[in-house]
Amino acid sequence: MKELRFEDVHVRFGQTVAVDGVSLTVPAGQVVGLVGESGSGKSTLARAAVGLAPYDGRILLGGEPVPTRGRRRPLQMVFQDPYSSLDPRMSIGESIAEAMPRGASRAAGRAEVERLLELVHLDPARATARPSELSGGQRQRVALARALAGQPQVVIADEITSALDVSIQGAVLNLVRELQAELGLSMLFISHNLAVVRYVATYVAVMRDGRIVEQGPTAQVLAAPEHDYTRELLAAVPGSTTRSPR
């Protein structure tokens, strides 16, 4: 696995500056949580990395610029809304197969789809199912499997649990942790929920108005936040003041 490094990245849409000089490193085999409000530029940063938004600056993968053309895409992304990120006309097996590197035989491709479905704890026999037959949590697992099908060095997860019911969110988070530990993935985990980031990420970066205002090891940042905004975010976590630890 390689490290993902953002160096002084700027993204502008017309007059608006969405990302304003972000430098951030996702170390090899680590999960970095990126927190901030909507509009802080965290999703835009992710889209720039995978080539969906034009940017200035440098985004490097293992020291090389991230390829955003051609078949090989070592940087993969999982989207927020599992109801929109899967083509309703394609079976989930086809969606996963589409992201796999070309050149494998049909049988090998089918075996790989089955392996990936098993990896995300879905019944391989359901490869022919349409997304509409699946629950939100199952769809998000298919989306994870599709991201892994590209044999990525780094995965970017953009608010992957915020469209899910709380009862399903736990299962997806468990899966993320398990996959990360098993495959040693490097991961940029974007969320507005500090409790969720605390659970999956070893490092955390706090973003506001297109800038990173604080970053460091999760435990340290959450225990002793240095920036006022980080403190504000922490104070706003529901239950942080009234509920006792279980």
Partner: protein
């Protein structure tokens, strides 16, 4: 296929389908069966009127016009379809250009299409007829090219709507090329509206052809289509009107057939997209049971009293009941939280209380009272005033809760003018005052702004302010902070708490987030499959909840103290579908404590000495340890 069936089910759809199939069938068989009849020259009967031998008379060579009209079906339909095909192909090329070529070159193409669309189609057709020369080929190109810009613009709009979906981005990130994405992801997802519009376009092309041929710019002798027959027949219209009427009728019938067929399919497809979404509408559908009665309520401080509330919607296989008998009371100044997964019926409960369950939903209850007034009564001015002034409703999405074309202050003031009869000036003054009360900075200035100039948190405050225009005894907030950022969420929750403290207002807070409810509320109702399964003080949520579902919900949400070395607890299975509620306890299939009794006998909601309620045969029993460690045992393969 099921959609096609529902096309046939409507009378118009059935007629259109029969007509279309008939026209197409005729186009295939008529020339085979009747070519000889149509070309037979009967010199004894030149320019004759209708007779037993010639139903629509004969032309100047004595040929039978009825048979000629039938045989002309093929050429007319062929030409129309050919022109439509040209329009669709060129339209597709133009419409997908901006997707394939990228933004800059696409913009040029779009500008060209926009200009072309502005020209009247018939004018373009005449122009092309001059360019390509007079004749069938020229006419086909003329009509095809004239239809292309409109098709192109439609395609572009459809492509734009699909290409903004995440699955297109996902394919791009996976390294799939643009052209491949176009054919695999975009075109299949826009094919239905395109086909429908092409069908309608074919009807239009048919009419245009008749027009061109009639003007002498289309099909030339000796071949003939309906327009040509019309052109020939019109000359002798005073001698034999049927000679012009027969092809004219054919044009009308075929044109109608294509257009109606396309429209009916479009209607079914359109409805198919919207079906299943229940929008709260302002038309209440409460059955009249008894007039407003004020007399009976047990305690003076009860604001809201709900007994045996049921909400029913008609479904394809019998009525669906998402709320199945909910009873609770809210006292003055009390904050009651309602939690549950999506589909548990929590939002519908709130809508029923505010009389916002729209058609075709039905609300039944043995008691539904706000401040002692029966909410089941028929709609009346008094009841509307009661709801308008005593009940405040806060919705999840503050953007859709306001009229985007009216100023904020005016929208708030409207409440006071309508329900309290205030004049314009004092109503606006109250609106500004209320905006200040919900801590909107610079309310005098803000009152003159439009909703889009407010941030999400600001709009949610304004929504709460709107509820405070009267003197509400109850605020019903349905996921008021779900669409907001955490810091803003905290501010809105603080605001609700301070309003409650200041005026002793009761609050019903609906949320899927146990942590939010636990922080704000005194008491929590946990709903599952349309019923209350547990009713307990919020302080007891974390430690002493007794229903296994409540305990699982609390454990499934990570908070700032969650043990990082253990996987999160998960609830196996999936929520109950309201259309298919199992017998016995609805939660049994997902419950680690479930026994045979749970699967057959539904547990009643029982009240204990402390006033807590729970519906479970195994309430409070220790959960088997492995449920907490049950790593990813989510067996939700149905």
């Amino acid at each position: 296929m099921s959609r096609l069936k529902s096309v046939i089910r409507t009378p118009v759809g059935l007629t259109a389908t029969i007509l279309t199939v008939g026209v197409l069938l005729l186009a295939v068989v008529a020339p085979i069966l009747w070519s000889d009849d149509a070309d037979a020259i009967d010199t004894a009967n030149i320019l004759a009127g209708p007779s037993a031998d010639h139903w629509a008379g004969t032309d100047n060579l004595g040929r039978d016009i009825f048979f000629r009209t039938l045989v002309a079906t093929r050429l007319s339909v062929e030409l129309a379809l050919a022109a439509t095909a040209i329009a669709v192909v060129i339209g597709l090329l133009l419409g997908t250009a901006s997707f394939v070529l990228g933004r800059r070159s696409g913009r040029l193409v779009n500008a060209g299409v926009n200009i072309a669309v502005a020209f009247p189609g018939m004018l373009l057709a005449l122009f092309f007829a001059v360019v390509f020369g007079v004749g069938a080929t020229g006419a086909v190109f003329a009509i095809g090219l004239a239809g292309a810009p409109a098709m192109g613009r439609l395609t572009r709009t459809l492509v734009a709507s699909v290409s903004s979906r995440d699955f297109v981005d996902a394919a791009r990130v996976a390294g799939v090329g643009r052209v491949r994405i176009l054919f695999r992801h975009v075109l299949p997802n826009i094919s239905e509206p395109l086909v429908v519009n092409a069908t309608i376009g074919a009807g239009g092309a048919l009419l245009s052809f008749a027009g061109l041929s009639f003007l002498g710019l289309g099909v030339q002798q000796p071949s003939y289509d309906w327009g040509r027959l019309l052109f020939d027949g019109i000359g002798s219209i005073y001698v034999n009107p049927a000679a012009a009427l027969a092809p004219g009728l054919a044009v009308v019938v075929a044109g109608l057939a294509f257009n109606l067929f396309g429209e009916s399919v479009a209607k079914v497809l359109g409805v198919g997209v919207v079906a299943g979404i229940q929008l709260p509408s302002s038309a209440p559908a409460v059955e009249t049971t008894s007039p407003v009665d004020v007399a009976h309520h047990d305690a003076d401080d009860i604001v809201l009293d709900v007994r045996d509330l049921e909400v029913t919607f008609p479904g394809p296989a019998g009525p669906i009941r998402p709320v199945r008998g909910v009873s609770f009371a809210v006292r003055r100044g009390e904050a009651v939280g309602v939690v549950g997964e999506s589909g548990s019926g929590k939002s519908l409960t709130a809508l029923a209380v505010s009389r916002l369950v729209g058609d075709p939903g039905r609300v039944d209850a043995s008691r539904l009272e706000l401040l002692g007034h029966d909410l089941r009564a028929a709609d009346s001015k008094a009841l509307r005033k009661l709801l308008g002034t005593s009940l405040a409703m806060v919705f999840q999405d503050p953007m859709t809760s306001f009229n985007p074309t009216k100023r904020m202050g005016g929208q708030l003031a409207e409440v006071a003018r309508h329900h309290q009869g205030m004049d314009r000036r004092s109503a606006l003054a109250r609106a500004v005052d209320r905006m200040r009360a919900v801590r909107i900075t610079d309310p005098e200035h803000r009152a003159h702004q439009y909703p889009h100039e407010f941030s999400g948190g600001m709009r949610q405050r304004a929504m709460i302010g709107m509820g405070l225009m009267g003197s509400p005894a109850l605020i019903v907030a349905d996921e008021p902070t779900t669409a907001l950022d955490v810091t803003v969420q905290q501010q809105v929750l603080d605001l609700l708490a301070s309003i409650r403290a200041a005026d002793d207002v009761a609050l019903v807070l609906i949320s899927h987030d146990v942590a939010v409810v636990g922080q704000v509320c005194d008491r929590v109702l946990v709903m599952y499959a349309g019923k209350i399964v547990e009713d307990l003080p919020a302080a007891d949520l974390a430690a002493t909840a007794r229903h296994p579902y409540t305990r699982a919900l609390v454990a499934a949400v990570p908070d700032m103290h969650t043990d990082l070395d253990r996987p999160l607890a998960v609830i196996p299975g999936r929520p109950v579908d309201p259309a298919d509620v199992p017998s016995g306890c609805a939660y049994a299939a997902r419950c680690p404590l479930a026994t045979d009794r749970c699967r057959t006998q539904e547990p009643p909601l029982e009240t204990d000495s402390a006033g807590r309620r729970v519906a479970c045969w195994h309430a409070g029993e220790p959960l088997p340890i492995e449920i907490l460690d049950r790593e990813l045992a989510e067996v939700d393969t149905q």
